[in-house]
Amino acid sequence: MKILIIEDEQEMLENMQNSLEKEEFVVETAADYREAASKIGVYEYDCILLDISLPDGDGLQILKELKTKGISDSVIIVSAKDSLDDKIKGLDLGADDYLPKPFHMAELHARINAVLRRNKFEGANTMEIGNVSINIDKHLVNVNKTEISLNRKEFDILMYLATNKGRLVNKSALAEHVWGDYIDQSDNFEFIYSQIKNLRKKLNEHNAEIEIKAIYGIGYKLVNL
């Protein structure tokens, strides 16, 4: 999988690059409009992460170029502006998603995976980790071919952690993803714990080969046993 990150903020770029390379993505970078424009003309990418406020040009222009050239790379707009106008414009121009800064890396992974799944592997909608198989479309989870029943939140949590398998998932990132954008202001994510507890119990009962580990004070990590 090849990903192009277009981002003028050097450290932000490094963060994203490091994080994505760990997932075995091939990552290329462009720090300004010119570099980005030359790269999209030459190579093909599975996904482009596009910061639309670039020092030497409007990132939305890149979207337009992709469209006129008939390139169907998936694009996720990354923006510090978090403005509704940009979001609507971007999505109208054919972007697949819009992620406002600041974001958690876990959220970035989840978005990239969702976009790739939608655009690249049609039909391939199950995720396998050990003896656990997650059917993303049907919201079904099987352990050793036995279905376990999860409520919507438990499924969303498992899905999110599985997407970020082996990585640290910050509890606020998890809360925002599962409980909605506005829960984040509650400054208290203890209520996540009871759902995690139930989820763990169900996974244990079926001898799942995955474990949700708590990282003290910060969040959770799903590991393959």
């Binding site: 510090a80 403005s83 509704l84 800064k101 600041p102 890396m105 509650s186 400054d187 004070g217 910060i218």
Partner: protein, 422 residues
């Protein structure tokens, strides 16, 4: 007191004093003039009588006034003290008035054929009390006439003249620094009002500029904070992920990360507040308040049950309102979240949807909160990790759409959102 009445009052007082003083002067002047002309008349008559007496000596015997206007009496020279003419006022019985009336009397002495005669000539005189009365009445009418003219003039002319001023006052009364329009002033030919209008417009423009500048500053500042915060958080997360840290190490790092996130949330709230105030949420649609509340209650159910609080909804009516959907969600999110955060466990939070209003009530043991401070920024009831912006944001949203957001205490804390009639 209105300016119009104020000037009228002063005019009335000044005119009263002025007219009274003038009346006294006028009275004496007039009286003086009357005496003067009467005395002239008497002197003329005296001379006529003396001339006649030379031709007709019979009248030298006329001792009584009778039907005439003079008497002549012979006097001994030794009884004459004063041969000069002497004018004085005296009283005489008048048949027509059946009373003693004042008359003007001229006493004079003349000599004829070696004899001395004393001549008295009279003429009827002005009745002073009548004169004063007449004068007083005339003055009263004059005074009233003047006052009425002034009032009418004031009301017509001054009102017209001061019109631009009153217009300006009305405009100022309706002026809202947050709304993006300047006040309208009336063109006038009066220099002072033009100056006033101009200065006020300049002043308002300056205030608005600094107000928007400040709003813009907050927005830009929180904007600029986003990226460094994102970088720091991401770096820390990567660090924790890449290094298998012991719990004691995590104990030290976790608070750093959590506080950075808290800062991010605070920054986001601040940005949101500026955006609402800078009117950046433009798209509007008909929003079903009922379904928003139902969704939120669903979203918050885990949070509430973690605190052992039960969330209930009483739906008595349906409310649809045209506004930005995100803002509608944020408005109720903050109110419901506020109720849960400050709610007491094992108690109920009830949301009641009635006709054009939503009431969110939660149990309280603390009694009423300070109404006037509740919706201001950074007001914290207790240090429950809140940033003190939630209710300020709700208030800003409510103000934006002319919704009524109100807190009152009725054994419970009640937050009421009133929707205007469609």
């Amino acid at each position: 007191m209105k300016l119009l009445n104020y000037t009228t009052r002063y005019f009335a007082i000044i005119l009263f004093v002025l007219l009274s003083a003038w009346a006294v002067l006028f009275y004496f002047e007039m009286l003086d003039e009357i005496y003067d002309s009467m005395d002239d008349g008497l002197e003329n008559q005296k001379m006529l009588v003396i001339r006649r007496a030379k031709e007709d000596t019979s009248i030298l015997e006329k001792n009584e006034f009778g039907e005439g206007y003079y008497t002549i009496r012979k006097v001994e020279p030794k009884n004459i003290y004063n041969i000069k003419d002497n004018y004085r006022d005296t009283l005489m019985y008048m048949h027509n008035e059946e009373d003693f009336e004042p008359v003007r009397l001229l006493e004079s002495v003349f000599q004829q054929n070696g004899e001395y005669y004393k001549l008295k000539v009279i003429t009827s005189m002005v009745e002073e009390d009548d004169l004063i009365e007449d004068l007083l009445y005339s003055l009263l009418w004059l005074y009233l006439g003047l006052i009425i003219s002034i009032i009418i003039l004031n009301n017509i002319v001054l009102k017209k003249v001061w019109n631009p001023f009153y217009k300006l006052i009305t405009e100022l009364k309706n002026f809202n620094i947050e709304k993006d329009e300047n006040i309208k002033v009336q063109d006038t030919s009066i220099e002072e009002f033009n100056l006033l209008n101009k200065q006020i417009q300049v002043l308002l423009q300056k205030s608005r500029d600094s107000f928007t500048g400040q709003k813009q500053f907050i927005e830009n500042a929180s904007h600029e904070l986003q990226t460094p915060l994102a970088i720091s958080i991401n770096k820390l997360e990567l660090y924790i992920e890449n290094n298998d840290l012991s719990e004691s190490e995590l104990v030290q790092i976790a608070p750093v990360l959590n506080n950075l996130e808290r800062l991010t949330r605070f920054n986001k709230s601040l940005l949101l507040l500026s955006k609402i105030e800078n009117r950046q949420f433009l798209s509007e649609q008909k929003v079903s308040i009922n379904s928003i509340i139902q969704d939120l209650v669903e979203d918050f159910s885990d949070f509430a049950s973690h605190k052992e609080i039960e969330l209930t909804i009483d739906v008595n009516e349906t409310i649809d309102f045209k506004m930005n959907k995100d803002l509608a969600i944020i408005l109720f999110t903050n109110l419901i979240k506020n109720a849960i955060v400050h709610g007491k466990s094992e108690h109920l939070i009830n949301i009641e949807i009635d006709k054009q209003e939503v009431k969110i009530s939660n149990f309280s043991e603390s009694g009423a909160l300070k109404k006037e401070k509740l919706f201001t920024r950074f007001y914290k009831i207790s240090n429950k990790n809140s940033n003190g912006l939630g209710l300020a944001i709700s208030k800003a949203i409510a103000d934006e759409y002319d919704l009524e957001l109100e807190y009152y205490f009725d054994e419970k804390h009640i937050f009421k959102v009133g929707f205007p009639k469609a």
